[in-house]
Symmetry: C2
């Protein structure tokens, strides 16, 4: 997850009024960096999809004073306040006590909630204790939101024009409540529809793309925005449109994407938001072709980028990870003299590896990657980050050397992606 950083926002979707949303995440574990707040990212995506606008994400400790303080601030600036965490018997239900105090009401027993908890326990054949029973005690002004997946119910409150929804922090329970109760409400308040269309470009840096696309971008209508989302050697170009009519908006976005593709030319490698492994897989499938990999420094990760995609068995029979010199020789037949003379990280060795794995796995294409991921393993003329790769078909072998500058994990990930991209280019070029 490192390597992502906060980028300039090119999207300004405040052109029409939409639900001003605030997310409050309750949890010491996030404050002290033990876990990363993935709940808020998911909620943010969903709210934007539903036509709302996320203006604040606040993370606080699970203490009553902090929660009340945050509720107080939120109630003055947001239309809808989504609270996750701080529910459940081990937390002494700090969220619901804080909410009751915020609204100045008592906790009362909700018989329907208790019945639901009893049912859940009966199904598991476990006895109910007082802690479990107390989960049915909720602020008297709330609407309980049934949680089919756990014992802590969601709670909904309306105070003036502000809606508060409190949800458990467990992701699948939170998501179920969001989908059943929150998102329909946000959608109902939003007369506009929002649509995205993503185009992926490869091997051109963001700053260079911005130059090439400045004309296209300046001609976009006001309700369509372009966002640049770079990751490694790819840039996702996302067109986001807001409009009244779903079908008209989608047609308009498709038209703009076509224009964008014309400007990009063969730099564009995909017209939907998918991973590089999937893009390569689609190109292979189109040609009814297969691939195999011989990995050294990437140690299995390049194979993982292929096999993480469902359906990859259609174009991928297997790989070898040849980490040691011996295995490069015994399993892939790389001549021992070559290894000792030129080193495992060399053009001739990756050529051998790619061609041997292709024949051994009986595939149309082969990829080999050998490098120094670091921190150890560097030599005088081969510093950490030196990576040789080769891709081959039955009549062509292409090699390339990269000098990467990351830590071990980044060098492994980046080499793997660069290898897949080099192979994608060969596959696409193989038609001509």
């Amino acid at each position: 997850m490192t390597g992502l950083y906060i980028r300039p926002g090119h999207i300004d979707l405040n052109q029409t009024k939409s639900m001003q949303t605030e997310i409050i995440t309750i949890g010491d574990e996030i404050l002290i960096g033990q876990i990363v707040d993935t709940n808020s990212a998911w909620i943010g995506q969903q709210i934007v999809e539903a036509g709302g606008e996320v203006r604040y994400i606040t993370t606080i400790a699970d203490k009553k004073e902090e929660i009340k303080h945050a509720l107080d601030i939120a109630s003055k600036r947001s239309d809808i306040v989504l609270i996750t965490g701080g529910l459940g018997p081990t937390k002494d239900d700090v969220t619901k006590v804080s909410m009751a105090e915020h609204f100045g009401v008592e906790l009362v027993n909700y018989p329907n909630v208790l019945a639901h908890i009893e049912k859940l326990f009966a199904r598991k054949g476990r006895p109910l204790n007082d802690g479990n029973r107390s989960q049915a005690m909720l602020p008297e002004n709330c609407t309980p939101l049934q949680n089919d997946l756990g014992t802590a119910p969601g709670m909904q409150f309306d105070e003036g024009n502000v809606r508060f929804v409190s949800m458990p922090g467990v992701p699948y329970e939170m998501k179920a409540i969001m989908e059943a109760h929150v998102l329909p409400f946000v959608r109902s308040k939003n007369s506009k529809v929002l649509r995205h269309v993503t185009t992926i470009s490869a091997n051109v840096p963001e700053s260079e793309l911005m130059k090439r696309l400045s004309g296209f971008e300046s001609e976009l209508p006001a309700h369509i925005k372009l966002a640049y989302l770079p990751h490694m050697n790819l840039v996702r170009l996302r067109l986001t449109g807001r409009g009244d009519d779903e079908i008209a908006l989608e047609a308009e976005l498709t038209g703009q994407q076509r224009k964008l593709m014309e400007v990009l030319g063969d730099v564009a490698i995909a017209t939907e938001d998918i991973k590089l492994g999937q893009i390569l897989g689609q190109e292979l499938l189109k040609r009814n072709a297969t691939m195999s990999i011989a990995e050294s420094c990437t140690g299995g990760f390049a194979s993982h980028l292929i096999t993480q995609n469902s359906g990859s068995s259609a174009y991928y029979p297997g790989s070898v990870v040849t980490y040691s010199y011996d295995i490069k020789t015994s399993v892939l037949g790389v001549p021992s003299e070559l290894l000792w003379q030129q080193g495992a990280v060399s053009e001739d060795v990756v050529k051998h590896m790619a061609n041997r794995v292709r024949r051994q796995m009986n595939t149309d294409f082969g990829l080999a990657i050998s490098g120094i991921a670091g921190p150890g393993g560097a030599t005088k003329d081969k510093p950490v980050g030196t990576v040789w790769m080769a891709v081959c078909s039955n009549n062509e072998t292409v090699t390339k050397c990269y000098h990467l500058k990351g830590n071990r994990q980044q060098n492994i990930e980046r080499s793997s992606l660069l290898g897949l991209e080099l192979l994608r280019k060969l596959v696409v070029a193989s038609d001509s």
Copy 2:
């Protein structure tokens, strides 16, 4: 990163006064869930290590009004306010303009900062434009913090008793400024030292561990707390102590860890905070032993969990990923009849795979994993999530079948970790 959720906080370290820290993250991309806020998690960890306390993390849009609003709230409740993002020419330096307005001061040119920017551009041989030059214009009350890694300097402000530090959002630039300027300051304000000691347990669920450790936990002195951090089949048990004397505190924590280990018995698998792949690696190194892997459904990911660790070449020569039936036969010699009679996901097939890869790679131990990661590939008697694995030494083979319930990515990750754990047990048991 899914699957993590907000857990009850067992740590309450507010026993002594420490720097009350607030993190403000500026970035639309985080609000709309395009990226996950990993910067704040890193900052949180570092601040706690340095003896500070993180009380708020706030994410806002890169708009002047929002930034000023957040600064206003933060200045009233925090000792130190750490701001990331919103610096750099493409953002029109919205953060520094907002900070200048917050403090009621003008932007002025800082010649030293300009000289640094000019030097950076000269080194890259690129011309300087007005946008770059404007990065040397900073609020007149700030202390610029040199950014060796980029053109946007950090900025430090003191207002009353509150310190504000604004940093770029790019992680490595932010980290460099944190390490050079922020963390030494937080440490200097903290008379107490904070230390962690982690013990890792395997194969016992958190709720069961809590029961076993309730006696141990209740006898802990008030300045030492125990946190349960479960992930997959492991639970990290973290003892955190706060005290005046570093050496005395470390000795005390080591003593408590020894007690904890006695209660845990052979459920404890490591006494430091490392990954399962590293734990397995250490056990192999101790015995001067080696391992290899034959992967099917995990598709390279189990190998990655080994090779992501620096130094793994000492105990790991390689793997094969045999995704298709053909390759299982041609590369690993699994009898074709066996595959067609029992299926690739079967006890006999993983037995063959583990023993064959062990011999082929000439290692002391072998691991094989074959399963149905999903969503496709299920049969009537083998639903998605069925995973067979085998581990072997020269005189023993152990097999196990799991029924997992995650999505494809989770099943791949979980199978890989379960495979490493099964092998770790065999390695440890091989002494007797």
